[in-house]
Symmetry: C3
Subunit: 136 residues, 3 copies
């Protein structure tokens, strides 16, 4: 049973950004040679999140619009007196900071249309995410 | 330490459907004889999700109504020019594609009122979910 | 490879409450001496949830306001004929019942501003959460 944990750094390109990180997860899995196990991806920030869905440009535009409707950037937030990014924290809470994906037969069990994204809500900035593989 | 991964197929019955899959998870756990460990459930689609809550008919009606309010089926979505199901992708992002449940003393540590659901947002269709048990 | 599972009990102080449980997770990790592994936190209730974000008073007020906007306490819910807390179940579905955090070098890989919260939506009550550490 192995536990391998790796840190990755990326640069988000704008205030709100959805970055496909699937390749880095596939690369780690190939490198560590775990055949049966679990991959956990984690983002150690309070204004980013992780999600899985289709990498389709118009869908990402819809997602940005949906988040703006549910948790608008300008929203009379109390936390904006501390730091002008309450919406980014709230979106991060609404979505998630970790995702888990089973590995079997040496393959990440993502569906055909599933990609893994890091969502930036307070960019552009340098960001980190962690990929952990546990298994044998 | 064992890692057992199993695929399940179900048929959703309508466009929006919440299917209680708790029994299949309990069955797998009994079969694999893991006493201490972790169960991960994963859905490999981009228009379904997984959640845990009470299996109560009226609550499921409330959930359908809440999702229609937050992410309506008809919403002037850009992705609807590609495929007429943007709302289903967005709901899947808003909720989650994986859940983790600890196992101890041979038991899934679900609370009394907790059941595990697969949510269909673009049915009726044949759907898959993966149950992985890791432990000893 | 060890799997250690511990139960914790806390008392929420009001109807809607966000309780920082980070210290208990750090304590368990120190106690079990797992250097490389995964921590899973799970809440076995249908009207609580878990999330990670900054422990900042005004942000928690914003979160309460956001949830009241998205899933109001009074909402003409069908489930309220069964039990007067449909909003609490729905919020629990919208957020999450489990979180996963990688451990490496004996440390929980939380970011500088990240804290772990149990969210109470139907308090004040005695509540339980489970911390599981798997690793070596």
């Amino acid at each position: 049973m192995k536990v391998i944990t790796k840190n990755f750094t990326i640069e988000s390109r704008k205030k709100i950004d959805f970055i496909d990180i699937t390749n880095s997860v596939e690369d780690v899995l190939r490198e560590v040679e775990v055949v049966e196990g679990l991959v956990t991806i984690f983002t150690p920030h309070t204004t980013t999140c992780l999600f899985i869905n289709e990498d389709e440009k118009r869908l990402m535009d819809d997602l940005e619009k949906m988040l703006e409707k549910l948790v608008p950037i300008k929203g009379n937030y109390f936390h904006d007196n501390v730091d002008d990014n309450a919406y980014a924290h709230l979106r991060s809470i609404l979505l998630s900071t970790s995702i888990s994906i089973p590995v079997s037969g040496g393959k990440l069990l993502l569906g055909t249309w599933q990609n893994i994204f890091l969502a930036e809500f307070d960019g552009p900035r340098k960001r980190t995410y962690i990929i952990q593989v546990m298994g044998a």
